[in-house]
Assembly symmetry: C2
Homo-oligomer: 151 residues x 2
DNA sequence: CTAAATTAGATACATGTGCATGTATCTAAT
DNA sequence: ATTAGATACATGCACATGTATCTAATTTAG
């Protein structure tokens, strides 16, 4: 190594891993305890609910952490569970239009009771208001391409 | 939901996931491209190298992100690869004393060339110096129990 | 227009993961 | 000595993941 990372850098790397692991683990554990699917399903459902006209799979992929193969498999499970429907896309016969079902909307709402509560207890309650912007800006710096949340 | 998370909270949650995924993915991809094992192996090797007298498995577990079962399996692979030795612990016959081998030290050093470089390029270069403390403090707030790095 | 390149999405394969449980050992109270 | 409970580590199982590859459809270049 020509140049060594400084101690702040090392700490950031360690904390990024620990914080992510700790927080996501609590989310997954609580969701599971409530008999609900994993957090990633929430994001899929929410993405689809905000696009009632339907979404292409690759469009959904861009807004999610899934890579293509995993999203494909996850959607298959969600279709099997009746949460999502896949219709052939009229303008591109390779594609499929995804739509959320009533059962999907219902599940998303039930997940929100837990998911939203966890955002409060695991994040909002823990990070004091004065520390939030610093955290946001630091995390944003790590992901130069990230443009922000859709409204 | 009685009370909704505010928009900063939501952004923190999203960014924590995106930043973690993005950064770790680069680490893993680069390590793999260099023909090296995953980042978690580095942490195990480094932990053992700092404790030349040997470590119990549960001691190592506390300093790592592995849960017990996964650490057990990972160590098995590392023993098979000749990077680590497991000797029966004399004072507790349930336990095993872990020691790093010469091959393990050698691998850690070769991993460091990539791993340390990634810490520079993916973290130190991206997070401007003035933003680092804010990031550290925000992440720390998410993990109340975390006490800091061993020297 | 055709051939090559690109893209959408699915799937096979190997590997990793969490969870639950199993076995052995240890500690301490009876 | 016996027994109850805790702890160390291993393992079986179900499922999730990344990588690579496949098929089909579409776009682009010549």
């Amino acid at each position: 190594m020509d140049k060594k990372p400084n101690s702040e850098t090392t700490l950031i790397w360690v904390l990024l891993n620990i914080a992510h692991k700790t927080v996501t683990q609590r989310f997954e554990t609580e969701l599971r305890r409530a008999g609900l699917p994993p957090a990633a399903w929430y994001d899929v459902l929410w993405g689809l609910e905000r696009n009632p006209q339907g979404m292409r799979q690759n469009q959904l992929e861009r807004g999610s952490l899934f890579d293509q193969a995993n999203l494909s498999r996850t959607l298959k499970r969600m279709v099997d569970d009746g949460l999502v429907t896949q219709c052939p896309a009229p303008e591109d016969r390779r594609g499929r239009i995804l739509t959320i079902t009533d059962a999907g909307r219902d599940l998303r709402l039930r997940m929100w009771e837990v998911y939203g509560g966890l955002m409060l207890s695991e994040i909002e309650d823990k990070v004091p208001a004065h520390a939030r912007q610093g955290l946001i800006q630091g995390l944003q710096a790590l992901v130069p391409g990230f443009k922000g949340l859709e409204p």
